[in-house]
Amino acid sequence: MPNEVMIETRGLTKKFGKLMAVNSLDVKVQKGVIHGFVGPNGAGKSTTIKLLVGAIKRTSGEAFIKGYPIGSVDARRAIGFSPERPSFYKDWTAFDYLVHMAALSGVKTSEAERRTQELLQWLDLSDFANAKVGGFSAGMKQRLSIAQAMSHKPELLILDEPTANLDPDGRMSLLEKLKGLPREQGVTIFISSHILSELEYLIDSVTLINKGRTVAEDSIKVMKEERSLNRYALNTSNNEAVMKALQGHASIREMNLGNDGVIHISSPDMAQLQSAVMAAVTKTGSLLKNFGEEQVKLEDIYRSTMDQGKDK
């Protein structure tokens, strides 16, 4: 039954012999968002994606796309999928290939041709519509793969490393286009990528996965807020002296000088901390460069989450 949750997995598990590739994975993706799927190599990202698109069979657990069981024709009808290493019929032209892919998804030929023209233009491939795919560069193939994923106007786009082979311009251009999709066409995007800075720009929510398990999942905003709550960053012309001056102050719970050359402070009382910092700066005769709430990046969240995983 259709609902507002686009992807939901409950205890999804996939074993290859003795290897546990996906281990009781729980993921929930709301409709209309761009959801990142992040984890180290071998974490089970691609296996999970293949499970979601119905390419491989689950060992146990359950998963649904738009309320339909994964692998079912209804679930696949809602999906447009671009794999990590896209492959094509090399002797076909880009146009014929896209029309064929749309037709396979149940789009009528005339509509498929119109849609293909539209997608080729959207992905800057119009000039190569009648060129054979075998001669395409890696970047062009990547864009063509995204075009085939979108050929039947799916409600959910599942993209595995979509910017992997693109040059910086192509990457930025694609990110811009993808970012607009949920708003313009109501598409939900489930995207896996190793380039966290790109994801951060794009995503609304994220699932962090390690060793086949979900280690964190939430909206990116909430995750950042949680990690920046009561955490401050201070940078002065003489950080070591300022730290010494702040040492033992009642409002400071924790303080350290990070590798980034900035003092990271944990404090429950912003006002008291502010007074203490100003006093320390004045006392040491330092120049205050920057002081404010910690700016948490996706990379920080990723590192801290994976480090926690290692500790366990």
């Binding site: 390419a55 491989i56 794999p83 492959s87 019929y89 064929h100 039947h152």
Partner: protein, 313 residues
Amino acid sequence: MGFRDVVRKTLIDLTGWKRTLILLVLGLFIPVLTSVFWRFSLQNANLSPDMAKYDVLERFIGISFIWTTGLFLAFAVVTSAAGAISKESSDGTLLTLVSKPIARRQIVLGKFTGIVIHSLLMITVILLIQAVILWFLLPVEAPTFGALLLAIPWLTLYSLLVILVFASISLALSSLIDNQVVITVLACGLIFFTFIFGSISNMMFMMKPQAYEDNYVYMIDGSYQFGNAFAPALEQALGGEMLPPRELEEITYFAGIFKGGRMGDVYGDSSEYQYPGELANYVPPAVSAALFMVLVAGCLTVAVVMTERKDVG
């Protein structure tokens, strides 16, 4: 919708000009070569027009059964079907294909249908060209050409059986094994076994022909079953009249549809030749055809089930 597109894609893949040219050359090579030799023998034979017509028709059907709709067609079908699933799998295109909203059984059956349609069209064209070549190369009258053309629908009907059998076997192998070369080698081994088994069984059971019958060896003898299923088509192709036994035997020798114990006679003194064999009517031809249909259904079921279960990517 998806099924039709899989059929269409399969047809496009199989009708590349290079492949088509190679198949045409291969398919026609043996008939052309033999026609050149027949030309000399016919020129020296001084046959009446009726006899000449019959002789040409017999040769046309004989070479068609042994080569064109036999070994060649089986090879052509195997090379078409061997990569149907496995090539998509090894090329990585199957991953995208199975993510589309089309049932996997439709993919398998669509490819099967495409291979059958292509092979049927190809063999019809080759038989037509073969008939034209015979007409040009052999000293025959126009009515003979007409008789050759009338034989083609029956040969095509028989071809359909060969196509269905080898396409389904190859497709089943293609769903079980990812390596296209291994599939082709296995399927070719099967082809040789099937078409040569008739000759082998003749030799094997020459001394004790009854053992072939008593142990029901003919039931698993593909060459017998094909020959048996071919017999009605052959009869129709010859204008509703069965050939005299010896001619029939020569044509269907490879099919092993005669009872054993005749080798000495075949290669003995032809002037003293007496037809020793008896047409082996172990099972009605319809049963042979039905057995093949069961085999086809079984192989397709394997192909569908294995493709449904396959982890792709």
